[in-house]
């Protein structure tokens, strides 16, 4: 069904669901009291009753009296004994380092205060990401302070460790190993020059040892295909910033595929419209079966069944080959529908047109079938993309694992052919491999099994010895993420626990001299230095002495050798590949498995910041829910498939396993297809990760090449029940909703009750509110004119006011504003986690989110528009709009929220008395109320919130966890409102720096956490009274609009229209 005018968030919205409409009128959602208090309904575990309330009341009064009578406590000021030169208490130090976790790599700057890391920033110098970050990297600082970390080496007992010393451990290992021992090291892709070198030392001592790279979410087929076609078992250097047409077969390159931040940066460069009259933006056509993050950012989507991806690739390949004179492959089998057939033709047309026009294109696929990847390679070769959008000069090293190797290892383990096995890098195949259970059984037969994981996990529990590695923020390390690009990992804090660097461990076990020294960190440092001196330093000519080379590289965080010409030529052939692609299953239900931006392959499960970050698309938290398609009944209603609703429980089963899952409706799904995220359902994962969601790894299967296949046939039962803990922020804080007035039949704004029904042209009268503006590139000029006209009308309305304007007030001094380019926002959530990290935003837990009590200052609203069955998606980061005419300020009885001369809507917590009038009056619904003492900041802990089941003390009460708090931002107590402050602490810091350095303020001095975290540069922050800043330029851009401009809030956050570049042929397919 086609509907280009509508913008919606979900089914309830489209159907005008009564409950939804009712809730959107209210700022505060309240569960019925009976529900809350009755035992069987309550999920919160609320045990208090009225008598408890009276008791607490009495205690509270008494406590307050006692507190008032108390003397002020004696506080201590503890200085250093020997103050390090580099540290000035109260001033942050930044260190260039790299976030490395398996195949996740990101150049970062680590902000430390008084010697403790508190925030991750992107490294703007790095040519890979240019300062972009991801939600995972932003949240990694919390993992450092995880109190469930493995605290010492020793014998593993379940999830705990019987402590022994490193010397004893080394001795025990030495005793068990002989020169002939078959040792296997299972780790992530090894792209660290120093670990490689250390492993070579190890191999000298134990020649029968082998390094097995294992990535739970692998790109094995891509590597194998490249080996066959180019002789390179590697991922090439993709250049999305060169491609005008991107055809994507299920590669989630903006979310989780290989190097998403790098690709997002590149891709977004081709997506920002500089001149609306000539919108030259790239086009992405996505062939996928469910709505992935990358697919949601595609211009046109072609829905295919998971099993027919190979056929679709092959058909496209043949189209291209026929046109370009290459050899085609013979195929049998049919595409599931005419639409797909047309989609393939349309994609081929785009590719060939681009090729004819001398433009560049790129075909990528996330397929884990070698033949399919070879066809993709051939297509790219025929289109002449090698050398331009795909290069071999700086190939990517972060993904190296071959599924078959791991599979073979499990066979070896089962057969008991191995003497020792070491699991490094936190790899967790017992959980994440389809044959994990077999591996677990096999491990008990192995004499020596070691886990170096920093957090207990399933594999750790199945091993006998723990040799914990330090967190990346406390250790030395290096990496070569791309050939010729060397990066550093440097420690920013002393190791919190008794851990030892993998380099030192490997060298100790290989009996290298000096490795038994006391200071393992120093030893690792010296070793890395020596490796660089030997391997990296000689290949450069920029620096004369190693010392200056080293110091410079360490300061920058990386060193890049000049590009060297790489003579890699296509030497593949496609003959016979037609039979090797996955054969489409003609009927029956299929399921696609995918990786999410927050949970990854499951190694981030114990990070509450990521668990509570809503899924960008289905917007659920603390769970992986089965995405099911929605169906239009042909009338007024859109329902979930099988009439399933959000939060219903069904059981899914395939030949390998059966699981009960919660369902969530999702747009843009192929019929007869469901989708479910991997990375959930951890069993051994500390307090926040264990038991969240379901583990679907056992449902995966291996194809004939040994590659893991991320789809399967599936049976789904009927509704089995309702998940009472289901938490999704989908319908929370909705605004700008319009609906039919039951009395007059007119379209009204349901989220604003007080509507003046005079007539058009009066302030507050019925206007159709659009908070998302979008246009197709072909109609952009018209859309911009329409917008201009509309804004003129709004501004005319706003001028009809008795009150004086604010122009004179805010056109002097500083005036801070934010702009968001909706075309560049990909919904990755890095900004949201950055905001949490910067502003001490608490974790509230699943049951609190369910009550609409999430505390995030910045939410990313996801809207759909266009066709109901395959809509386009717009992500809108929504934070406090810092309105110059703020509705919240007028209603505060104690003036706790008011306006600053710099245009900031200020929130003063110590003045707030918690009436919540402001939140009620906020049209954008961005104010958050501290219902409970989430951060344990109160003097008397009465209403502290326990995030996890069975916790003895609240999450933030632990001293170790509290080390992550930003000391420049107040930790809010119960009963006050909070909201985005435009990172006022950063504004103040930047201004102060300029003032003390006696210079004018520069644009680079001040930016908000969200803007700095954004991988695509969609968010810009700055002073609009300075005409040089990017934000001023955005403000003056005719594509910029303001959400709810007609209600005269005079907001300070400008949104730049979302522009897509649809392929008209594919859009018409659905008609």
């Amino acid at each position: 069904m086609k509907n280009n005018d509508n913008i919606w968030v979900g089914t309830k919205d489209l159907n005008g669901d009564k409950e939804f409409v009712e809730n959107s009128k209210k700022e505060f959602f309240e569960l019925p009291v009976a529900n809350e208090l009755s035992k069987d309904e309550s999920e919160s575990g609320l045990k208090s009753n009225r008598r408890d309330f009276l008791k607490y009341l009495g205690f509270g009064l008494g406590a307050a009296t006692v507190a008032a009578a108390c003397e002020t406590p004696v506080r201590r000021a503890i200085p250093y004994v020997n103050k390090p030169d580099a540290i000035v208490p109260g001033v942050a130090n930044y260190y260039a380092s790299s976030f490395v976790n398996g195949s996740d790599f990101l150049p970062v700057l680590v902000k430390t205060r008084e010697g403790r890391p508190i925030k991750i920033e992107g490294n703007k110098q790095s040519p890979l990401t240019e300062g972009g970050t991801s939600a995972r990297a932003q949240a990694s600082v919390l993992e450092l302070y995880d109190s469930t970390r493995v605290k010492s080496p020793g014998k593993i007992k379940g999830t705990s460790v019987d402590k022994i010393s490193w010397a004893d451990l080394d001795k025990k290992i030495g005793e068990k190993l002989t020169t002939n021992s078959k040792v296997r090291i299972v780790a992530g892709s090894n792209y660290s020059p120093s670990i490689k070198s250390a492993f070579n030392e190890f191999k000298k001592k134990y020649p029968n040892s082998k390094w097995v790279s294992y990535d739970a979410s692998s790109n094995s087929a891509l590597l194998l295909a490249n080996e066959k076609d180019f002789g390179q078992k590697a991922v090439p250097n993709y250049r999305f910033d060169e491609a005008d047409v991107v055809i994507n077969f299920g590669a989630d390159f903006l979310g989780s595929w290989i190097s998403p931040v790098e690709y997002a940066k590149q891709w977004s460069k081709k997506r920002k419209v500089k001149d609306y009259k000539k919108p030259e933006i790239s086009r992405m056509i996505a062939f996928e079966s469910f709505m992935s993050l990358t697919g949601s950012n595609a211009d046109s989507r072609v829905l295919i069944k998971p099993s027919e991806q190979g056929l679709a690739i092959a058909k496209l390949h043949n189209e291209i080959a026929r046109a370009k004179g290459g050899s085609t492959v013979s195929l049998d089998g049919q595409l599931s529908s005419e639409k797909v057939e047309k989609g393939v033709k349309a994609a081929a047309k785009d590719l060939l047109e681009a090729s004819r026009a001398g433009k560049k294109s790129l075909v990528v696929s996330g397929s884990n079938n070698t033949a399919e990847q070879q066809l993709v390679n051939h297509m790219n070769y025929l289109l002449g993309n090698y050398g331009s959008t795909i290069r071999w000069d700086r190939k990517t090293n972060i993904s190296q694992s071959i599924d078959a190797e791991m599979n073979a290892l499990i066979d070896e383990v089962k057969a008991g052919k191995i003497d020792a096995i070491i699991f490094a890098d936190g790899v967790n195949p017992v959980y994440s491999h389809p044959r994990g259970a077999e591996l677990k059984k096999g491990l008990s037969k192995i004499d020596l099994s070691i886990s170096t994981s920093i957090l207990p996990n399933e594999t750790f529990s199945a091993c006998s010895w723990a040799a914990p590695e330090p967190h990346y923020l406390e250790s030395w390390g290096d990496a070569e993420p791309k050939t010729g690009h060397f990066a550093f990992v440097q420690p920013t804090i002393s190791p919190l626990f008794d851990s030892r660097n993998m380099i030192t461990s490997l060298l100790s076990w290989s009996g290298k001299e000096g490795s038994e020294s006391e200071d393992a960190t120093e030893y690792a440092y010296q070793y890395i230095r020596s490796v660089w001196e030997k391997n990296v330093f000689p290949s450069q000519s920029e620096f004369m002495s190693f010392r200056s080379f080293w110091d410079n590289a360490l300061h920058e965080g990386f060193y890049e050798l000049p590009e060297s010409a790489n003579q890699v030529v296509y030497a593949g052939s496609v003959s016979g590949l037609g039979n090797k692609i996955n054969s489409p299953v003609s009927s029956g239900l299929e399921i696609a498995f995918f990786e999410t931006v927050n949970m990854g392959d499951g190694s981030y499960a114990n990070n509450p910041w990521l668990q509570e970050m809503p899924d960008p698309l289905v917007r659920t938290v603390w769970d992986n829910c089965l995405n099911i398609p929605v169906e239009w009944d042909g009338g007024n209603s859109i329902d979930g498939w099988k009439n399933l609703n959000d939060g219903d429980i069904v059981s899914i089963s395939n030949s390998a396993a059966e699981k009960d899952v919660t369902v969530v409706q999702q747009y843009g799904m192929k019929n007869d297809t469901v989708a479910l995220a991997i990375g959930y359902g951890r069993e051994v994962a500390g307090r926040s990760g264990a038991g969240v969601g379901v583990n679907v790894y056992p449902m995966l299967s291996l194809d004939s090449d040994g590659n893991v296949q991320y789809f399967s046939s599936i049976q789904v039962s009927d509704k089995k029940g309702v998940d009472k803990s289901f938490a999704s922020v989908q319908y929370h804080h909705t605004f700008g909703v319009s609906d039919k007035d039951p009395e007059s039949g007119e379209t009204i704004n349901v989220d604003e009750k007080a509507i003046v029904t005079l007539s058009e042209g009066y302030q507050g009268s019925i206007t159709d509110r659009t908070i998302i503006r979008h246009a197709d590139a072909s109609q952009l000029e018209k859309a911009v004119h329409d917008l201009e006209h509309e804004r003129e009308h709004h501004q005319h309305l706003n001028e009809q006011s008795l009150y004086p304007g604010h122009e004179d007030l805010y056109n002097k001094g500083h005036k801070w504003e934010l702009s968001v380019d909706l075309s560049a926002c990909i919904g990755c959530g890095a900004c949201q986690v950055a905001c949490i990290s910067e502003n001490n935003v608490p974790v509230v837990g699943k049951s609190e989110v369910r009550k609409h009590h999430e505390m995030t200052w910045l939410r990313i609203d996801r809207y759909f528009y266009g066709d109901f069955d395959s809509p386009n998606t717009a992500y809108q980061p929504m934070m406090c709009q810092h309105c110059d005419n703020a509705p919240c300020e007028n209603v505060c009885p104690v003036a706790a929220t008011n306006h600053s001369s710099e245009g900031l809507n200020q929130m003063t917590y110590n003045r707030c008395i918690g009436t919540r009038y402001c939140a009620n009056n906020c049209p954008y619904k961005v104010r958050r109320f501290n219902w409970l003492d989430y951060t344990t900041a109160d003097l008397w802990g009465l209403n502290e919130n326990k995030v996890f089941d069975g916790e003895s003390e609240p999450f933030y009460a632990e001293n170790l966890t509290r080390m992550v708090l930003n000391p420049d931002v107040t930790v809010r107590t119960r009963g006050v409102i909070e909201k985005c402050s435009f990172c006022v602490q950063r504004i103040q810091e930047g201004k102060l720096r300029a003032r003390t350095e006696k210079r004018a303020l520069r644009e680079a001095d001040i930016t908000t956490a969200c803007a700095s975290a954004c991988p695509t540069g969609a968010i810009q922050f700055g002073d609009v009274n300075n005409e040089e800043t990017k934000v001023t330029k955005d403000k003056n851009d005719p594509m910029t609009y303001y959400a709810l401009e007609e209600v005269n809030t005079q907001s300070s956050v400008g949104y730049k229209m979302k522009v897509v570049n649809r392929n008209p042929d594919i859009s018409s397919v659905d008609a």
Binding site: A68, T72, V74, R75, R76, A77, I78, P79, Y80, V81, N82, K83, V88, P89, G90, V91, K812, G813, H814, N898, S900, S901, E902, L904, Q906, M907, T908, Y909, N910, R911, A937, D968, V969, T970, V971, S981, V984, Q985, Q988, K991, L992, A994, R995, T996, K998, R999, A1000, L1001, D1023, N1025, N1026
Partner: protein
């Protein structure tokens, strides 16, 4: 009886008013009497120029003679001679002036400084001040002492309060009297109308009447509420807080006597939000040379050595000091205290008393450097924090010291005079705000930061529309300058 009361009130009223008038006249008189010389100017001159040699009480000798009665002693010579004596005393002695020669005989070889720059008027001021102090007329006392109330007149602050109290009292009496009159008149009117005389209520009845009791309760609530609110506002404020510190560190000695710059030790003040309590190694910059204090000897300084692990006998830092037990540490420092005791008392070997002194000192050092959480003597010195801000206040020293160029003394008071450091300022929000209202932005003209965005202020300054730019003008009163 009622008329008696009335006349008493009228009498009292008249009396008080007369008293006030009387006082006002006297005030004028005393002012006109001392118009020729300025005693206060004399005082400040005396303090700056003379007080280092001449006693402040004018009655006792110091380096120089007591100055009381100078004018009488010089009365037989021309006034100019006294001026010359003060300006050029040595010249006058060599000229052989009899009075000068007499004084030189008593006081030689002490030479009085020359003061060629003093004007005649200034000398007169000083002389008048000297005489005033000598005779006890300066500082001036209350003029009229017969009515106690008038005494308040000398201090301006309380004079208003007194006036208010008097006025309130008068008004109260007046209303009381009027109420009585009305009551009596009503009673008469009633008596006339009804023909009977209502029994008048006794004082007791009046006092226990509903309206009086109600009024009292109301007053109690108002006063109670007022006190509660005031006390609540003061909760957590610690002006004057001067706790005992683990080391008897004297700011008077360091900042006052030795004039060490504040920011030598508090080196964070210019570049950080914290002024920073100096690390023990900062102390060692000087105290490696000065190993014993002038006041406490080895007692206090040994605490610094014991914290950082400095061996004062061998002038070395002790290796692996953190790993040493308290007993091992005790051996090192007891030896040091002992050695110094022996040296001070010129003994060959420590005596019994010395042993006692040594052990007492060490016990005190251990108790100062350790607590429940910190068992080892080694490690940081845990000072008691004096300036405590609530968590919701963001204060940045660099902002004030470097950017705002505020002197440390402005908020911390005369630290150089504090033996034990005390909190000088109330650190209340009102106090902050007040300063932000009044303070001018330093460097507004020179600092390029203020040029572009604050052009409008520069224009106004140039046009003369504006005298100065205060912190308030650039947003210094806004909530989120200090609360975020």
């Amino acid at each position: 009886m009622n008329y008696k009361l009335l006349s008493l009130c009228v009498f009292l009223l008249t009396f008080s008013l007369t008293g006030l008038t009387l006082h006002a006249q006297e005030g004028e008189e005393s002012e006109s009497g001392t118009a020729a010389v300025d005693l206060d100017a004399g005082k400040s001159l005396f303090r700056s120029q003379c007080a280092s040699c001449h006693n402040k009480n004018m009655k006792d000798d110091l380096t120089g003679p007591a100055l009381g009665g100078t004018q009488e002693r010089w009365a037989e010579y021309p006034r100019e001679d006294l001026y010359t004596w003060i300006r050029y005393s040595q010249r006058m002695i060599s000229d052989g002036h009899p009075r000068a020669t007499e004084l030189w005989g008593t006081w030689k070889p002490t030479v009085m400084n020359n003061f060629p720059n003093l004007t005649d008027q200034e000398i007169e001021n000083v002389l008048a001040y000297i005489q005033g102090v000598y005779e006890g007329t300066y500082p001036p006392k209350a003029a009229g002492e017969e009515v106690a109330a008038v005494d308040v007149g000398t201090e301006e602050d309380s004079s208003n309060t007194f006036l208010f109290i008097t006025l309130a009292l008068i008004l109260f009496i007046l209303s009381f009297v009027l109420a009585r009159i009305i009551g009596v008149l009503n009673a008469i009117a009633r008596a006339k109308a009804e023909g009977t005389v209502a029994p008048s209520r006794s004082i007791w009845q009046v006092l226990t009447s509903k309206s009086v009791v109600g009024l009292l309760i109301f007053a109690l609530v108002v006063v109670g509420g007022y006190t509660t609110v005031n006390n609540a506002i003061n909760l957590g404020r610690q002006q004057g807080y001067a706790p005992q510190q683990p080391i008897k560190f004297s700011h008077e000695t360091h900042a006052g006597l030795h004039k060490i710059d504040c920011q030598y030790c508090h080196d964070g003040a210019r570049r950080s939000k914290h002024s920073v309590i100096p690390a023990a190694n900062t102390c060692m910059n000087c105290h490696r040379a000065i190993k014993k204090g002038s006041k406490y000897g080895t007692q206090e300084l040994t605490k610094v050595f014991a914290s950082i692990g400095y061996d004062p006998i061998n002038d070395t830092y002790i290796e692996d000091y953190e790993e040493m037990s308290n007993e091992e540490i005790a051996d090192i420092y007891k030896k040091w205290i002992e050695a110094e005791y022996v040296k001070d008392n010129e003994l060959d070997i420590i005596d019994e008393e010395g042993k006692l002194v040594r052990d007492d000192q060490w016990d005190e050092i251990v108790s100062s450097l350790t607590n429940e959480q910190k068992e080892s003597v080694a490690g940081p010195i845990e000072w008691v924090r004096i300036h405590n801000m609530p968590d919701h206040v963001y204060f940045n020293h660099a902002q004030h010291v470097t950017s705002g160029q505020v002197e440390c003394e402005q908020c911390h008071g005369a630290v150089e005079e504090m033996e034990v450091l005390a909190q000088y300022a109330p650190l209340s929000m009102g106090w902050c705000i007040n300063c932000h209202r009044q303070s001018e932005v330093k460097g507004f003209q020179d600092n390029p930061y203020y040029h572009k965005e604050f052009e409008h202020y520069h224009n106004e300054l140039q046009n003369g529309e504006r005298e100065k730019v205060t912190v308030e003008d650039i947003g210094g009163l806004e909530c989120q300058k200090c609360h975020y």
